[in-house]
Subunit: 146 residues, 2 copies
Amino acid sequence: MISLEVDTAMTAPVETTTADLSAADAAKAMRDSGIGALVVLDDADEVVGIVTQSDVLGLVASATDVASATVEEICSVPVVTVDADANLLDAAELMKENSVRRLPVFDGDKLVGIVTTTDLTHYMPRLRNTILRDRPDTPKSSKIAE
Amino acid sequence: MISLEVDTAMTAPVETTTADLSAADAAKAMRDSGIGALVVLDDADEVVGIVTQSDVLGLVASATDVASATVEEICSVPVVTVDADANLLDAAELMKENSVRRLPVFDGDKLVGIVTTTDLTHYMPRLRNTILRDRPDTPKSSKIAE
């Protein structure tokens, strides 16, 4: 049983934005914070999307004017999210299945952070130690050895 | 002893470019291939840099004209690389230490692929199984339990 949960590896707090921000300003916010995505909130602070570096790249690739484009036009909807107490390996599976690199993290109804492929990669060496420490006892195999 | 090596998780072949490509064309190449970086080669096919989504984002954030900017102006130099037979967890450490998300992979002098935080994340569940399978025998702990 692996005991590492998402909230041990996530980045918190999470940077957010509103849908009416320009793509250029979203790019500035990401660069200034050194992050790859902003979670998009509506007027009621509900999560309605996520805007990523890839979305900005897509604009550049299609020669769209980044100053006039808004977050609403380029953000990904709906958002794949994960619970704060979910297993880290299940979060990894969820990213793989949905082809996403970032999952906003919820504690109940509350947005508490974001977990990314970078967070998981930085956690991998620690994961190894935890897996070895928490491995099931192996009396059967030691009996076979005797 | 963990037996998983970088070449079991890397993406191959790796997409490459030259330094004189425009940033806009680099963005198109990344979007069309669904990837986040291009390895930059010189005339002798030597690796001289890497250009990433973050580099393109930086251009947008600074309101630089992406059509006139070139890969040479925005790419990261020097490049942190890894050997194909390196341990996956060591690759994860290398990414953390250097704050990078992608490592071009070499087999001797030859560029054979690229390993990313996404590749490592997709590999995590498999990593768990390999760690448990390859764990050292634990006769001492079972004796303590007796």
